[in-house]
């Protein structure tokens, strides 16, 4: 394992100066666009993502068959999002994969029984990529869904975790930590219900450590949920102040 870089210094600091359990700085904003039904902007460290939601509207085309809600996602990564210019923003395998994962995680959160024969479109655009792209995209999508007023069971949030050489779990890993070769575990969870909607892992590590890494990622999810929740409240106060009802909150 020592072939890769040490992710945690002996002084207990990570490469960017965080302690193992610390998240990156999170900034988020709801309702950044007017055209879509819901939108959000999310920043987690240097990873910056825009999400827009259209719907629910009547399902079109072939998708009309069956009674279920169709969740249609699109994941795209701006060509300028990485330090080396990307060739195509979407359609590559990675984007396709992320799109499926987004659908999977969101379908666990959306109260689909309320929207039969309808479709919800979720567009995610990564403006700047610095690790945990999927997790931040999902968080932004959640905010956009909330902004669109779509009923959710709960906040669905994602967080990543890794493992240092000394087997200390690390929360919310950045790009440099990702490429330094540690294992990367992504979890999308419903934190209050303590349910995991989606889990993905790259690189192998021993089963003994899996539990602690999952727990770390879950703790990260809970922390992110709190941040998102307060952002939603703040947003409501802001937009509700015109109608004068926000003060009651």
């Amino acid at each position: 394992m020592s072939g890769r870089m040490e992710l945690l210094s002996e002084q207990g600091l990570r490469l960017d100066g965080r302690r193992p359990h610390e998240l990156r700085r999170i900034k988020c904003k709801l309702g950044v666009f007017e055209q879509p039904d819901g939108s959000a902007y999310m920043e987690q460290g240097n990873t910056k993502v825009l999400a827009a939601v259209y719907g629910p509207h009547q399902a079109k085309g072939k998708k009309t068959e069956g009674n279920d809600l169709v969740i249609n996602c699109q994941y795209s990564q701006a060509t300028f999002s990485t330090s080396e210019r990307k060739n195509r923003p979407r359609g590559d395998r990675k984007s396709q994969e992320f799109k499926m994962y987004l659908q999977q995680a969101l379908s666990a959160a959306i109260k689909s029984e309320l929207y039969p024969r309808s479709q919800i479109d979720i567009y995610v655009e990564v403006l700047q990529a610095d690790g945990a792209n999927y997790a931040v995209s999902l968080n932004a999508a959640t905010l956009a869904l909330i902004d669109a007023g779509i009923c959710l069971n709960e906040f669905v949030v994602a967080c990543t975790a890794s493992l240092s050489k000394a087997n200390i779990p690390l929360t919310d890993i950045s790009h440099i930590e990702e490429v330094s070769g540690g294992p990367k575990l992504t979890i999308a969870a419903l934190p209050t219900a303590e349910k995991i909607a989606f889990m993905e892992m790259s690189e192998r590590f021993h089963i003994d450590q899996l539990e602690t890494v999952i727990e770390t990622a879950m703790a990260g999810c809970r922390e992110i949920r709190d941040i998102l929740e307060s952002a939603v409240k703040e947003h409501l106060i802001h937009i509700g102040s015109a109608a004068d009802w926000a003060r009651v909150c």
């Binding site: 072939g3 600091l13 610390e22 330090s83």
Partner: protein
């Protein structure tokens, strides 16, 4: 809790990229001082007021901040337990890590030693000490500024803490923070910023209590040095080297100095099959053995051949300018070299730059100086590949007859020798303990005592087997298990049994000490064992891999005591066909621990009909069948001269030398160990396709066999080397009636053609590459000696995990980390072997001190100016010079007597008059020890028979010759390293 600032960094990766990374600045990083009243301290105070150093430069208590250059150059000073209360900034730590990993490691060791009070301050992430890189500022300048900023912050931070009334009332002097830096520019800036600053040299000199520390200062330049003329061409700058490499004008490789000729070396370049030859002082251009260098290939017309001349540097003195004479000498040698025939020429180059220095610490002695009371001395390293080193010391008188350690600091152009400084003394010359220490250090064998932490993981004594243990293991205490080992062996790791089953078949069991039961993965004991990798055997001394409690007691399968074992049990028929096998952990009680000799005696003694005798006879029968089967498969029987010393138990000086003997029982034990290893290898490779630890022995490339084929052809034998089987057969055919030792010599030569066997991880290679050439086995591993080899412990763990006897753990299944451990093991094994040989050589020298003996020997090789002679009795190899260096006295005399040897390139013979020396010819030589050079005592071979007038020594005592004239006992020993 956290503030943040972002910063940009540009890196070059072919094209220029802009990389943006977050950089969090924190307010929770403590200053680590017990004076501080503000910082949030999450650790124990590292900087305490209990250690104060008296310095005439700073007459108040102070903490020291080190600049990177001080750490890099003066690590030996830092390692001395003198400096305390040192602040290591993480800027410095990173720079050191980047520049030299070995110094980084040493620095880390100091930091971890809590008694030294070194505190790592993460200034890069502290909100007050972070320095943003300014436009047009170089990375170096920024780091210097960061260091100054941190120093300044520390000083003022502590001032405010010490401003309080409580502190003032206590009447203590205010503690300040000083910066040590050898960079003049940095120093000047520091002074202007009001920082207390000094050079490392000035500071160390100002220490009142430690005057001798000055010796350990590194010298980039010697003081009062007259600016002598440059003696070497300049090195290219790093940029020029990189450009050259990119445009394929230069080649990069590791430099290897020649052991025999100080003006020659070679560079191993990856893209070249042959090493690139480097000849002459200017071409070598200050490269030291091991350095990674940039080489420029010379035009083909200037290519040359490696000289077969042995050239040693004559005595030199510290203030000596190279004399005209010597320069002439060198020129002449080079001319001689370039006259080499075209066919022999190999790519030749010259070194134009150093990519990375691989300087380490060198053992050696001080050369007595001609001038009295000088502080400047010449140090002669024990390793001949290393040039002499100039050092400065004030304690030369004391050090003169001691083995000392010196390290190189620099090698300027105008100095013939590199500059260095004294590190420490090992002990008086000629003392057995000192000499062993030198061997261990030179071969990088970790040999310090086991630390308290390591020992804390040993089982508590008295150790007993609990009911729980019995329940988990198969009880084999009633079986007639016995062990067979060399005499005096205390780390017995294998035992055997064989019994007849009711169905008429035989049950054979190999029981291996269960070391992995005691060494749990990941703890300090395990890490130490992994780092050591192997037990090292020197003559009369053993450097254990695991603490003695385990190696000689709890794990050792001594007779009559209950021990844990890992057993491999086969059911075989009487023709040694394996019908079934099983692995399990067990409890055994060895009935008897025997030596090979005792076991042989029991087998041979027909009156013995006990269970042990029966068991041994069965084993012996089976072993013979197994051996035959193996030979038929193409396993090689190789030979290497091996000897044993009888060592005086008091003085540890060798009393008697004997060649190791092979008995049937040796090969009996060996056969079953091989069988166990192969069985285990098959099992773990099947269970763990990715991460099993295996051992392979690659087939040597055909060209390796050339010298062997040539040598055999002159004797009229054809050696076929296409496959192992053919080689084995053709070796068997090489028998000469008149030269009983001929076959052994051929086998010795074959051994030298072989590659090293290595450990590897099953996932890293294709199945076909697992092959073990020497043993002709498809798959092989080491399972049978866990007390003395770490590889076996790993194999034990894998096997235990696969049969459910033990749990797996993260590292066990990690291919990368296993690979790294394997690399270390391969290195340690090689070094342990070399150390063992060096120890034998040392003892041979001691044995021949004040002795002269005439011995039967054989010519192993014929060289241009010498014969390589093998003395079977001592397993000794040495050089008989036919043309000595011409400035030697002998040479002059010989020149007068006109004894001229002519070397025949064609059939590799030396002729003098009517005497012709071929390879493998028997001769008699007189052995004596040449102690003129205290450091490199060497055995001198002089010819006795065949007698050449004027060259051979006169036979003084007829008796001696006849006593030793009997042909030595024929012996063949399987090469130990492959076991």
């Amino acid at each position: 809790m956290q503030t943040l600032r972002e910063f940009t960094r540009k890196t070059k990766r072919g094209n220029i990229l802009k990389i943006v990374r977050e950089h969090y600045l924190r307010d929770d990083i403590g200053c680590g001082s017990d004076l501080c009243q503000y910082c949030f301290q999450n650790e124990v105070y590292q900087l305490t007021s209990s250690h104060e150093i008296k310095s005439s430069l700073f007459k108040f208590p102070h903490y020291i901040v080190l600049d990177t250059n001080v750490v890099l150059d003066q690590i030996d000073v830092l390692e001395e337990d003198v400096l305390h209360n040192v602040i290591v900034l993480n800027t410095v730590l990173n720079e050191v890590k980047h520049k030299s990993s070995s110094i980084y490691k040493r620095l880390n060791e100091i930091i971890h030693d809590r008694t030294r009070n070194f505190y790592v301050f993460v200034n890069e992430h502290h909100k007050d000490t972070y320095a943003d890189r300014e436009p047009d500022e170089s990375a170096n300048d920024r780091n210097d500024r960061a260091i100054r900023m941190a120093t300044k912050w520390y000083d003022s931070h502590l001032q405010t803490s010490q401003d309080s009334k409580v502190f003032q009332r206590s009447g203590r002097t205010v503690t300040r923070v000083i910066l040590l830096t050898d960079d003049a520019g940095n120093r000047a800036k520091a002074v202007s910023e009001g920082i207390l600053v000094a050079t490392a040299t000035d500071y160390v000199k100002s220490l009142e209590d430690f005057p001798l520390l000055v010796d350990k200062l590194s010298h980039k330049t010697f003081q009062n040095e007259k600016q002598a003329l440059p003696q070497y061409p300049p090195h290219l700058s790093m940029k020029e080297i990189l450009d050259g490499l990119r445009h394929k004008k230069l080649l990069q490789g590791a430099f290897q100095a020649s052991r025999e000729n100080y003006l020659e070396g070679s560079v191993n370049v990856e893209s070249y099959q042959k090493d690139i030859l480097i000849q002459g002082r200017n071409s070598l251009n200050r490269a030291v053995d091991g350095d990674i260098v940039a080489v420029e290939l010379l035009p083909e017309s200037q290519w040359s051949a490696p000289s077969e001349i042995v050239l040693e540097e004559k005595n030199v003195y510290a203030d000596d300018v190279p004399s005209e004479e010597r320069v002439e000498d060198e020129k002449e040698m080079l001319q001689q070299l370039q006259a080499a025939p075209v066919a022999e020429r190999t790519p030749t180059g010259r070194i134009v730059g150093i990519v990375r220095r691989k300087w380490r610490q060198y053992c050696g002695i001080l050369q007595p100086s001609l001038i009295e009371d000088t502080t400047r001395h010449i140090f002669v390293p024990a390793d001949r590949k290393i040039p002499r080193i100039r050092i400065e010391t004030r304690q030369a008188d004391k050090l003169l007859n001691q083995r000392i350690i010196v390290t190189i600091d620099s090698w300027p152009r105008n100095s013939r020798y590199p500059h260095g400084h004294f590190v420490r003394s090992l002990g008086p010359l000629g003392n057995m303990a000192t000499e062993n220490e030198v061997i261990l250090l030179e071969h990088d064998v970790p040999h310090c005592k086991f630390s308290e932490e390591v020992l804390s993981f040993l089982p508590k004594m008295p150790w007993t087997i609990t009911e729980e243990d019995y329940a988990k293991r198969v009880d084999l205490r009633d079986l007639y298990i016995c062990s067979v080992d060399p005499p005096g062996c205390t780390d017995i790791d294998d035992a055997l049994h064989c019994r007849e089953l009711p169905n008429g078949n035989l049950e054979v069991g190999v029981h291996i000490a269960d070391v992995s039961h005691f060494i749990r993965p990941g703890n300090a004991l395990d890490k130490e064992a992994a780092a050591r990798g192997t037990t090292v055997y020197l003559v009369g001394k053993r450097i254990d891999m695991v603490p003695e409690l385990l190696s000689s007691n709890l794990c050792s399968l001594v007779g009559g005591v209950e021990r844990f074992a890992f057993s491999v049990v086969w059911e075989v028929d009487h023709d040694a066909n394996i019908l079934s096998k099983r692995f399990h952990k067990s409890v055994i009680k060895s009935k008897r621990a025997m030596t090979y000799e005792e076991a042989q005696a029991i087998i041979d003694d027909v009156t013995q009909t006990g269970e042990i005798a029966k068991s041994l006879r069965y084993l012996n029968q089976l072993a013979k069948i197994l051996k035959k089967r193996r030979m038929d498969n193409g396993a090689l029987v190789l030979a290497s001269p091996e000897i044993r010393f009888q060592v005086d138990s008091e003085t540890h000086e060798p009393l008697e030398v004997e060649a190791k003997q092979m008995r049937d029982t040796n090969s009996m034990v060996e056969e079953f160990m091989l069988l166990a290893n192969i069985s285990v290898a098959q099992h773990i490779a099947a269970e763990f396709t990715e991460c099993a630890v295996l051992r392979r022995h690659p087939k040597p490339p055909m060209t390796n066999f050339d010298p062997l084929i040539k040598a055999a052809r002159y004797q009229g034998f054809e050696v076929v080397t296409d496959t192992g089987l053919e080689l084995a057969h053709s070796l068997d055919r090489c028998v000469k009636a008149d030269n009983p030792y001929f076959n052994t010599m051929i086998r010795i030569l074959t051994t030298r053609c072989m590659m090293q066997a290595v450990y590897f991880i099953s996932g890293s290679l294709q199945k076909e590459e697992f092959f073990h050439y020497g043993l002709a086995a498809d798959i092989y591993t080491h399972f049978t000696s866990p007390i003395r080899r770490y590889s076996d412990i790993m194999v034990h763990r894998l096997l235990a995990a696969s049969i459910g006897a033990d749990s797996t753990y993260a590292q066990l299944l990690e291919r990368k980390s296993n690979e790294e451990i394997c690399n270390n093991l391969n290195y340690r094994h090689k070094m342990a072997q070399y150390a063992g040989r060096a120890s034998v050589a040392l003892n041979t020298h001691l044995f021949f001190r004040d002795k002269e003996e005439d011995e039967e020997g054989y010519v192993l090789f014929v060289r241009k100016n010498a014969l390589q002679v093998l003395i079977p009795k001592y397993g000794l190899e040495g050089t008989l010079y036919l043309k000595s260096d011409k400035d030697g006295k002998d040479g002059l005399e010989r020149a007068k007597s006109e004894i001229i040897f002519t070397f025949n390139e064609e059939d590799h013979t030396q002729r003098c008059g009517n005497v012709i020396f071929h390879s493998f010819d028997p001769l008699t030589v007189r052995l004596s020890l040449d102690s003129t050079n205290v450091q490199h005592e060497k055995l001198v071979f002089k010819l006795v028979k065949p007698y050449i007038k004027g060259f051979s020594v006169e036979t003084t005592t007829e008796a001696v010759t006849s006593a030793n004239a009997q042909p030595p006992a024929k012996k063949s020993k399987k090469d130990k390293k492959k076991k």
